[in-house]
Symmetry: D3
Subunit: 241 residues, 6 copies
């Protein structure tokens, strides 16, 4: 089984990290193919960059030679999963949705903890779009951006852990989904501080994609995700830079 | 990995059938242990029987010697999953919830089609309890009971297929979850008639339970599913009949 | 008119106390019959014990000789009312629901204050099941269990009163439903501190049950609460211990 | 105990009929005082007339000499109950809300059936305002007005009965609340046709008002229904015509 | 184009102020006609006064000679807009709704900040009635009444500004609607403190009324806002005092 | 005042038509600038094309020389408005949202009628994103695509009119928003058949954009629509083809 795992931003080191995380969760016999879009923001934070990432991810997948068995969109709270589902028959799994869907099997409510405050509304809307918001206790942000993280990882980790603890104690979350990655020891620290299960979106998405493939299930083509109608697309895709 | 798959009713032939379905979906290395409760209704249809099944399933699992890695409650729209989660650390997966959660990755909306009209409200409430009702287009029943099925399986299958078709055409469902089992060729007939993916709850539950175990995730013990407090339980469990 | 008031736990002294509360609210000519289940937890706190109580209450009522005119399930946030409704034609009233329904006639919003934190989700779900959650401002817990209460009743009362005050001031509740009983002077203390009406579930349930009987209304048998279909129930009910 | 039952329109014969219905539901020792407003529409159908009725009912109650123990506003889907609650400490019960609250104890869902189509939105909003809309399966109208009724009562009754049957069969209502009165044999006909319990709002309101009084409960004065602040009211109330 | 702007209370100086605000927002060629009701409270704060204002505004408009092109009801969270819509074909715009509708074009969420705590529920219900509550982050009150304002305007302004800041920081509002008027410099102070757009309801209502008129749109008469049916209205309207 | 009106697809004749519609609704002194994206689908029908249109519209606006006072995104149910709001301080108005917001001032509920069935979910989500779905009675499609329209306009118009009539009669819509354009006489035909007001999104958007500009209101920059953070965007925008 071959699963494409597409980063939403154009930073190769993040793709590498996502690929490792995915490979670690994959079953024997599953090939993880990490992909970086050929255009877009180095890190996606907000609607403009997220819409750009949506089309970049779609073009990346369209350009990848078949066959493959499933696609994972590896970005937290990003636009675009619906478009991929139109283009493909194979299952498409968004990591925000995979994490929430998994969390719901472990506790009555869950919270998402992310870094930047401005991504909170995007995550909330993504959970709505997937029908997974009813049991979301909160989406919380530490207020620190990726750049802050690079400057002082320890402070960034501490800020995230603190929000997770507040989600459990104040918002009554019973599971935490981490909507930010790349920080060493983050999961362990959150588990230690809160005592609740912590779900990683990339890992969850890999197991869900594998499950859908094993069950022989593919995207419904009856209405929302029907293939695009044949028509003229002008000046697209862009020529490689 | 060992997964207990507990039937909600006391009819052994149904347990056998569920066990086969589960084994067919399991990965190599997963041992499926089908269990039948020692008390309760031969078929569960309605609240009284469902509450009885809830405690029967719990006692069945309590009586089963450890170790095991996950438990699947194999009944559609039944009470009790929350109680099992209190008693266990390992993941507990209800097949109604597993089917809906899986369906949401395949289409924007899903419907559940079941046999008896009186189970519709129970299924709706189970989906609510799991935070999975927002994208449920409808829960439809054919109006035929299990006994009708035995008398004329072809009529029963046709009635289910007809409701599935109406779910897709009238309620705008994009995926069908089958909340009734044991009819030969039912899934194929629904796929053929509606053209949408059809999800079987037992199979979906097996892949989800396996995924949770592989990811090392266990039930949150922080509030709703904390272990029962130590106390005196009078005259329980009942002596085996 | 004869009304059965069934305790959800197996502690006789609590049944006595509930019986007194019910008798105090009953009209002349109403006979209150307090009942204790023959099996189950000495105090019900959580899903496992609550599911067990659900079937214990049902068996207690089934074993009680007719005639009787209504049944009250006297437990806060417990499972099972729907099962009783299947078994009986006469009205069934849950005290959680009776309190909330009554509170809604007195103020725009209400809060429930209970003792143990882990029962909060059960109460929330019970209010949902009864269609009474829209005007629920909050369900708050003092964090003290029944055992704490026995050790230091004054501290327990003070903790409850404090939560009630926060419900009014922070959550904007206009009425308080007390989801915990047996503490002397509790109602008066909450009224005094908050200035809002306080509803006791047992008393409210008695007046509602009486009203339904007087109006000649019985449980709808058309779908959800239709009588169980005739079928074989294996090894049930258990033999008396 | 003295309960004022205030008609929303100015037709004395309707007041008489409401008074009889209320007296029939009252306990021994309860005095029912039927009141007709001194101004307003002969029959209230729509927002303009309903707002007028709201202030007319309030002035009628203000003009009535104390003491009295509760007030019932006897109109289906009308404005104004909140204003009465500000003016009074004693309980105020709206018949739309009383019927729905009562119906919820009898079945999982209920429908309201009324005569004029234009009152459907008002009833829906009244149910929302009372926090009682979650379990409302539908509000249906026969499309016949009061005048039609006078011309051909049998046709009016038949049209209502037909809508009730559709509410049960199509909308899955398990209880019917009748939002129109004065037709002979209407309740019996609906029960006979649908097989579900039928709730009359006036009768339900009487038992609820009596219950609140017996429990010593009064309207919360903490926020929404606090008494009007002292201030100058210009040219009001109007001089009697 | 002539637009009636009807104050909900009977204080002429407030009518003058509203008229000025409206005129400032009007296009060239639009005539603003400020009107004061002939009866009712000097300031409307609560349900009783608001229901009274509803009928007073309706009678004021009924008594005003045609032609006019639109009507604005200038009160925050008041009853009555639906009645005006029945009486008129021309557009009717409520300032609470106009502000919220406008705010939604400027940010993902908005909060309303008002003076008296008791008006919060009325504003929430008005937003619900208009289908505009989904993006309302909060309705907050400073707790100061109009009389407090007269005694110490600076304190009143400061209290409002503080609530606006908390709406932005705690409730995550992105736009503020001011539900209280007449304080000098209030808008500027809120903008300065919060950095978010601030919407004034009267100004917003004028532009919406003008737009509806320019587009040739009138109130739908198909159901909810159909004209009152011809019938006898007793003792109404009252004779001028 | 200069308002950019950006078509979502790349067909110039549609841009011309939109431009005419916008100019017809604009006040004197407002300059309407119709724009066609330089890349994307000739007609946008579905998620892939809509995401592509989102970025094409953003790049079109970014490339247009300032100053301008507002931007209208002229597509029904399309992605992207949130991205434009990040890029700009001036108001951004989506025509789907403008139509719904306007409709809500005219009737209690509204329906949207569009051509292709597959765009229904996109329109529903767009209304959700704008907080305008609570009063949406339905989104209905005629099932005919643009190509069908070209083949037989009369049939296309009739199909749309029929859906509008069903929206009013079955779904109880009181206003119709037309989510498809370019058919001669369509609005008049719908008004004639249904008797309810019909709102055109482009015209509504022009008046709303003008109103926001006149009131001096700009997009909130506090969180969701904050400007993109400075960062490297790779290979974007594409070189003109």
């Amino acid at each position: 089984m071959r699963i494409l795992v597409v980063n939403v931003n154009t930073t190769q080191s993040i793709t590498d990290s996502i690929g490792e995380q995915a490979a670690g969760a994959a079953s024997r016999g599953t090939e993880i193919v990490p992909l970086t879009p050929s255009f877009g923001a180095e890190s996606v934070e907000g609607n403009y960059e997220s819409y750009l990432a949506a089309v970049a991810v779609m073009e990346t997948v369209r350009a990848y030679p078949e066959p493959f068995d499933a696609v994972i969109q590896a970005g937290y709270g990003e636009h675009g999963r619906e478009g991929l589902q139109e283009l493909l028959d194979v299952p498409v799994v968004d990591i925000t949705e995979a994490a929430a869907s998994t969390a719901q099997f472990l506790g009555r409510t869950y919270s998402v903890v992310t870094s930047l405050d401005r991504t909170v509304p995007l995550i909330e809307e993504r959970l709505h779009a997937a029908g997974l918001r009813a049991r979301c206790a909160s989406v919380r942000a530490s207020g620190l951006a990726v750049l802050d993280l690079e400057r002082d990882e320890e402070a960034a980790v501490e800020a995230i852990v603190e929000q997770a603890a507040q989600a459990v104690e104040i918002d009554r979350a019973e599971v935490i989904c981490l909507g930010c990655g790349g920080m060493s020891g983050l999961t362990e620290r959150v588990v230690e501080r809160t005592g609740v299960p912590v779900v990683d979106g990339v890992s969850a998405a890999v197991t869900i994609a594998e499950s859908l493939v094993r069950l022989g299930l593919t995207t419904s083509k009856v209405r929302t995700y029907a293939p695009p109608r044949p028509k003229r697309i002008v000046n697209w895709p862009p020529q490689a830079g």
